[in-house]
Subunit: 333 residues, 2 copies
DNA sequence: CCACCGCCGTGAAACGATTCATGCGCGGCT
DNA sequence: AGCCGCGCATGAATCGTTTCACGGCGGTGG
C-alpha cells in the first residue's frame, strides 16, 4: 500500500513536505505543491488514518449506539446527530445493540479501543457493568433518550412522564373510562416513566387502568397484546402503547379481528414515527423530537470534546413531548 | 491516557511481555501473567486500536454503506451482515448515505482512510466517480442489492426483473386490466429492473400499464402518487409500487380518500418489510431475503479478505424474490 | 559588506502497539 | 563437566503520520 514516503520519493521532496501539502497547503510553494499533488494523484495515495490518529491521540469519528435500528425513532436520532457532526467535520458511525447488553458491551469496548471522539448512547441498562468499564476509558459520552443525574454525564431526553400523562389525559378527555396501557419491559426507564405519567393522570380520574407488559417493543409484541386485549372483559375502549411499533401491532391485530378503530377501540402510540401517521388508520401519537434529540446530543458531545482545557460542565437537556391527534382516537359521532 | 508502557512499569516487566499477556497468554508464566493482568485492571488500560492497526495494516471493522436507513429493508441487511461478522470476530459499522452521492463519497473516503477491512455497498450510482476513486484504495468491497459484472466486483442481489414480473403476473391473474406502476427514480437499477419485469408480463397481456415515477422511495412520495392516481381516468384498479414505503403511502392516501382496498384498488408493494404485513390492510408484497442478503455479502467479503495469498475469485450471488399475498390484493367476492 | 529576516523545505523524534531475534537460567542427558 | 534444549522475558525495529527545531537561500536595510 502506498504511503507518504512513496509520494515524497516520487515528487522528490521530503515526507514533511508532503504532509504539509495535505494538511497546510498554504505553507508550501505553489510549484512544489503542484508536484506533490500530482504525485499523490498518480500513485493513488490515501492517507492512513490509523497513523494519523496514533499521533493525534484522537479520532474524527463519533459513535451512536442505539437500542434498535429497526425502530425509525432511532434512525431519526441518527440523522440529527449526523447533521451536526457533518458541520464539525466529524463522521458518525451507527451501532445497533438490539436490546442486548452483551452486544452493547462488545460495541463499547470496540469503540473505546478505537478511541472514538465520543459516544452517543441509548443504553440497555444505565447502571450496568457495561458502562462501568467503559467509563474508565475516559471517552466522553452523552446519554440520548435517557435522563441521568448531571454529575454522571450529560444527557438529552424527552420528558416521558409528561408524555405518558398527555396520552392518558387525551383518552380521559375523549370520554374513555376503561383504558389499557400496553407497556414494554420495565427495565427500560422510558417505560417506567411513561407508566408513571399515565398513572398520575388516571389515578385522579374515574377511569380504570389495566397494564399489559410485553417483552419487546416491537410490532409482533403489539399483535400479541392485541390478542390479550381481545380476551379481556370488560374490554378496554382505549389503549395507549409505550411506542408506535406496539401500537401498530395492536392496530393490526384489532383490524384483523374486525374491531373498528377508533369506534370500538381508540389507540394512542408513542414516538410519532413516520409509519404512525402513515397507517391506514393514522395513529394518534406522542411526538418526540427525535432529530433534535440527535442534534442536541451531538452538540453536547462536541462541546465536551472541545479544545478548551477546562472541564466542560455537564448538561441535562429535556425536551417536551407533544400530542399529535389523528384518526385513531378521533370521535366519530 | 494509560498505555502499554505504564502497565509494563507497574507490573515490573517489559512492554513485550504485556503485549504477550494480552495477545498470547499461553506463552507467559502464570505468575507474571497474573501480575500484568492486575496492573491492567488497576490502571484501567485499554488497548489503542489505532497503534495496533498501524502495525497490522488492517482493521477489524467492516463497513456497511446503505442508501437509506429509514427503510427497514436495509436495517435487515445490516442485521444479517452483523450476524456473520460477529462469528468472525469482526465489527460492523453502518453508514447511511441517504441517497446522496456526496455523502456516499464522503463516507467512502473516510472508510478508505480508516483502512476498513472491507465495505458492503449499496451505492447511489454504480458507475459514478465515487467508486472510481475508492477503487484505488484497494479496499475490497461487495455490492449489496445491486448486481454488477463479476469482473468488477462480487455482488449479492435479488432478481428484480423476476420480482417485478411476479407482482405484475399476480395482478393480471387476479383479473386486473388497468394497472399502475408507481416507480422510484430511474437512476436506481432496482427501479429500472422492476419496471422491466412488469413490462415483460404486461406487454404480453391484455392489461394496460401506466407508470408514475416518484422522486424518492419513501412514504411521502407514496402519498403524492396516491393523489395522482386519484386524478387518473380511467382510474387503475391495481397498483404495484417499487417498494413498501411507497405502497404504504399509497395505501394511506387511498384510505384517506375513502377508496376501499382491495375492493376498489389492489396494492402490491416490494421488500416485504415488517410494516407491510403490519399495515391495517396487510400488504401483498414481493419479499426479498434481506437478512440473507446481508449474511451472504458479509461472507463474500470475508472470503475476499481471507489470509490466503491467491486472489479470490469474484462471485455473483442472486437470490430469488417471493410473492407474499395478503389482504391488499385478496379478492373479496 | 554584514546582519537579519522570511520563506520553504528538511530530517528526526514522537505516537502505541506487535513481533522477532536474542539472552538467560535451569534441568536433563551423555 | 559439558552441552543441549526449553521456557520465559527482553529490547529494538517497525508501521505511517505529524510536528517542530533547524538551516539554506535570497533579498533588504544599515
Amino acid at each position: 500500500m502506498v504511503g507518504i514516503k512513496d509520494v515524497a520519493r516520487r515528487a522528490g521532496v521530503s515526507i514533511g513536505t508532503v504532509s504539509n501539502v495535505v494538511n497546510r497547503p498554504q505553507v508550501v510553494s505553489a510549484s512544489t505543491r503542484a508536484r506533490v499533488l500530482s504525485a499523490i494523484e498518480e500513485l493513488g495515495y490515501v492517507r492512513d488514518e490509523s497513523a494519523r490518529q496514533l499521533r493525534a491521540g484522537r479520532s474524527r469519528i463519533m459513535a451512536l449506539l442505539v437500542l434498535d435500528l429497526g425502530n425509525p425513532f432511532f434512525v431519526d436520532i441518527a440523522r440529527g446527530a449526523e447533521e451536526t457532526a457533518q458541520d464539525e467535520g466529524l463522521h458518525v458511525i451507527t451501532c445497533d445493540s438490539g436490546h442486548q447488553a452483551e452486544r452493547e458491551v462488545s460495541y463499547l469496548s470496540m469503540l473505546a479501543e478505537q478511541r472514538v471522539r465520543g459516544v452517543l448512547l441509548s443504553p440497555v441498562d444505565t447502571s450496568g457493568a457495561a458502562l462501568e468499564t467503559f467509563r474508565r476509558s475516559e471517552i466522553p459520552y452523552v446519554f440520548v433518550d435517557r435522563r441521568v443525574p448531571a454529575d454522571e454525564a450529560s444527557s438529552v431526553s424527552v420528558d416521558d412522564v409528561t408524555g405518558g400523562a398527555l396520552a392518558a389525559r387525551h383518552l380521559v378527555e375523549t370520554g374513555h373510562t376503561e383504558i389499557a396501557f400496553v407497556n414494554g419491559p420495565a427495565i427500560l426507564a422510558q417505560c417506567r416513566d411513561r407508566e408513571a405519567g399515565v398513572r398520575s393522570v388516571l389515578d385522579a380520574s374515574a377511569a380504570r387502568l389495566s397494564v399489559l407488559e410485553t417483552s419487546e417493543l416491537d410490532v409482533a409484541s403489539g399483535r400479541d397484546a392485541a390478542a390479550r386485549l381481545l380476551g379481556m372483559s370488560p374490554r378496554p375502549t382505549a389503549v395507549f402503547c409505550a411506542n408506535d411499533l406496539l401500537a401498530l401491532g395492536v392496530l393490526q391485530g384489532m383490524v384483523a379481528a374486525g374491531v373498528r378503530v377508533p369506534d370500538e377501540l381508540a389507540i394512542v402510540g408513542y414516538d410519532d414515527i413516520e409509519f404512525a401517521g402513515a397507517a391506514a388508520v393514522p395513529l394518534t401519537s406522542v411526538r418526540q423530537p427525535a432529530r433534535r434529540l440527535g442534534k442536541a446530543a451531538a452538540e453536547l458531545l462536541i462541546a465536551e470534546t472541545g479544545e478548551s482545557e477546562r472541564v466542560p460542565e455537564r448538561q441535562t437537556v429535556v425536551f417536551e413531548p407533544e400530542l399529535v391527534v389523528r384518526a385513531s382516537t378521533r370521535l366519530t359521532r
